[in-house]
């Protein structure tokens, strides 16, 4: 097990460095003259230019600059937005909103996705199963921003059940509609995955054995089928939590929620390079850490994985 953990850690570090290096190189290649961008319309004198170049280490090779950037990112010094605000401040204010949104979305996914999937799987081919298969397919085929704008139109503007944009005075209630939109795709995928997993496990030999031993249907399902069916679902939900964080960009943009995703949405519109690259790198970091945890958890739950 220790060897497995070490190897996975090593892979995660490699992936993080590779992925952020690519993102950094691309953002680096965008800015043709960062100093002029910093100065705006004002002309820069030679001496100012030389001083700023030294201050921002622009004369160093690319890889050294990347190293300094990563060091800053991991020690909490994330630089400033193009308007001069420290990015760390922007994020400190934005994180709680995104986490609230993602947690509520995750709750919706777990409650409706897993329960719906189990129910559909146990009555395979029934009316509920058929309907949910068709509906989840439609959801999977609908881009999140379409779902978001359509839900906003129908449920907030036309029917008036929710507010069309962020209203902090409503507390957690203001997150409900955005969370439904954000969680919808994961909900559909989770439901399908749970269903398939339950259907496969119902056909497994140990279920036949349990039935033959004369156990009640209730016990066979709750102890034998569910426990084994939920292992892949659990790991999928783990990776989805990371995906929800990045999916929050579109949802928060549509509903005007000033969370991390909303800031990224604005950063793209305002061409705020430093803010965009920082948030993207952090999201990649979260995604990788969550994936690592899920992988390790999977190895704990399913012994076949660690003895590969």
């Amino acid at each position: 097990m220790a060897r497995f953990i070490l190897r996975r850690l090593f892979h995660a570090v490699l992936t993080f460095v590779g992925a952020t290096l690519i993102v950094y190189a691309l953002m680096f290649s965008i800015a043709s003259d960062p100093l002029q961008a910093l100065a705006g319309e004002r002309p820069l004198s030679e001496s100012q230019r030389a001083q700023l170049t030294a201050q921002y280490r622009l004369d160093e090779p690319f890889l050294v600059q990347y190293g300094y950037y990563m060091k800053g990112l991991l020690t909490g010094d994330m630089g400033r937005t193009i308007t001069g605000r420290p990015i760390a401040d922007v994020l400190a204010e934005a994180w709680p909103r995104t986490i609230r949104l993602a947690v509520i979305a995750m709750g919706i996914v777990i409650v409706f996705g897993v329960i719906g999937g189990v129910f559909a799987g146990l009555r395979r081919g029934g009316a509920f199963d058929q309907t949910s298969l068709a509906l989840t397919l439609v959801v999977i085929g609908t881009p999140v921003f379409v779902l978001g704008t359509v839900f906003q139109t129908v449920f907030a503007v036309e029917l008036g059940w929710f507010r069309p944009s962020f209203a902090p005075e409503l507390g957690l209630a203001t997150y409900v509609l955005p969370a439904i939109v954000l969680g919808m795709l994961s909900l559909a995928t989770t439901m399908r995955l749970t269903r398939t997993s339950v259907v496969e496990n119902l056909r497994a030999d140990y279920v036949r054995t349990a039935n033959a031993k004369g156990l009640t249907w209730r016990r066979v399902v709750s102890v034998h089928v569910l426990r084994n069916s939920l292992i892949p679902v659990l790991t999928f939900l783990g990776t989805e939590f990371g995906a929800l964080m990045s999916g929050a960009m579109v949802t928060e943009g549509i509903f005007n929620i000033p969370g991390v995703g909303g800031r990224l949405f604005q950063g793209i519109r305002l061409e705020d390079g430093p803010l965009v690259v920082t948030i993207v790198s952090l999201l990649i970091l979260i995604y990788l850490v969550v994936n690592l945890i899920v992988d390790l958890l999977y190895a704990v739950l399913d012994p076949r994985i660690r003895h590969e």
Binding site: L14, F16, V23, P143, V144, V150, V157, R269, L283, I284
Partner: protein, 300 residues
């Protein structure tokens, strides 16, 4: 197959003869209504992308929109009404298909080519090549598609390159998933007896790869690429929606973003492009799903 005993049509009479896997799959597909519906939608979208003038008498690229028509309701002459700028929504929806379909097709071609190359190399040679390529795949999978595409599209957005920045971004970020599928089917195929037989008969690597292994990896590759094509169209629309999509083209994503701003006044300029986009994405996903089901012997 109980009915097979009583041959009624020519089709049923064939059941007795052994069919190849692809023959079997085609037999199943022809009976699947989902396959036909999805194919019809895909065909329609491709026709709309290639010959938009067949569907609309107004050329949305050159139409002069009049603000007097701003947000006018749908009518018999203008089925989908008008948007805020007073442009005919139906014409814009028809002309918007082109950029979506082109981006989908070209990025799938790039992703498919890279995936085929890397997947086959990793699966066929194994050992350190496989280990190295697995790390490369991990790095690219570590970049969430939408976030990575924003950065790439933004990096190339300085010049007016039309759809190409987005195509390149999606192609370069989309290959890892099909590459994994190809790698595992190549590994599965190369352990088959007929590959050993071919090797004993003196066939070289190139021949074995092209004649014996790749044809067997084809079905899963086509399935995963069809589904990816749908996903690419969705991401392209999302990028347009965010304002980093192809420039100076009519696109569903841009129209949806624009319509969202006036949503309190009129919802149909949003609903129609959204409906077309969803139908297209869904059609590719359903097509891929139907082909997968037909080729999966476990479901028989």
């Amino acid at each position: 197959m109980n009915e097979a005993a009583i041959p009624r049509t020519q089709d049923d009479a064939e059941v007795g003869a052994p069919r190849s896997l692809s023959g079997d799959a085609w037999h199943d597909l022809r009976r699947n209504p989902v396959f036909w519906i999805a194919s019809a939608i895909v065909l329609l979208m491709v026709l709309m992308a290639a010959f938009p003038w067949l569907f609309s008498s107004i050329d949305a690229r050159t139409a002069d929109c009049s603000l007097a028509d701003s947000l006018r309701r749908p009518s018999a002459q203008h089925w989908f009404g008008f948007d805020k700028q007073g442009c005919d929504v139906y014409a814009r929806v028809i002309y918007g298909a082109r950029s979506s379909v082109l981006v989908g097709v070209f990025s799938t071609l790039i992703a498919g080519f890279v995936a085929l190359l890397i997947g086959t190399l990793a699966g066929f040679y194994g050992r350190w090549i496989d280990a190295l390529l697995a790390r490369v795949v991990d790095v690219f999978l570590g970049i969430p598609m939408l976030l990575g595409a924003i950065v790439v599209a933004k990096a190339l957005s300085g010049q007016d390159l039309g759809i190409w920045p987005v195509v390149l971004a999606l192609g370069l970020l989309g290959w890892p998933t099909p590459a994994r599928v190809i790698r595992s089917s190549v590994i599965a195929a190369s352990h088959q007896d007929y590959v050993n037989a071919a090797r004993l008969l003196g066939a070289d690597n190139r021949r074995i790869m092209l004649r014996h292994i790749l044809p067997n990896a084809l079905a899963p590759t086509v399935v995963v690429l069809t589904i990816m094509l749908g996903a690419f169209i969705a991401v392209e629309a999302t990028l347009s929606f965010l304002g980093v999509g192809p420039r100076n083209t009519i696109s569903w994503g841009v129209d949806i973003a624009e319509a969202q701003r006036w949503i309190r006044e009129a919802s149909y300029p949003l609903m129609f492009p959204a409906g077309f986009l969803t139908a297209t994405v869904l059609a590719f996903i359903m097509l891929g799903d139907a082909v997968r089901e037909a080729f999966d012997p476990r479901l028989r």
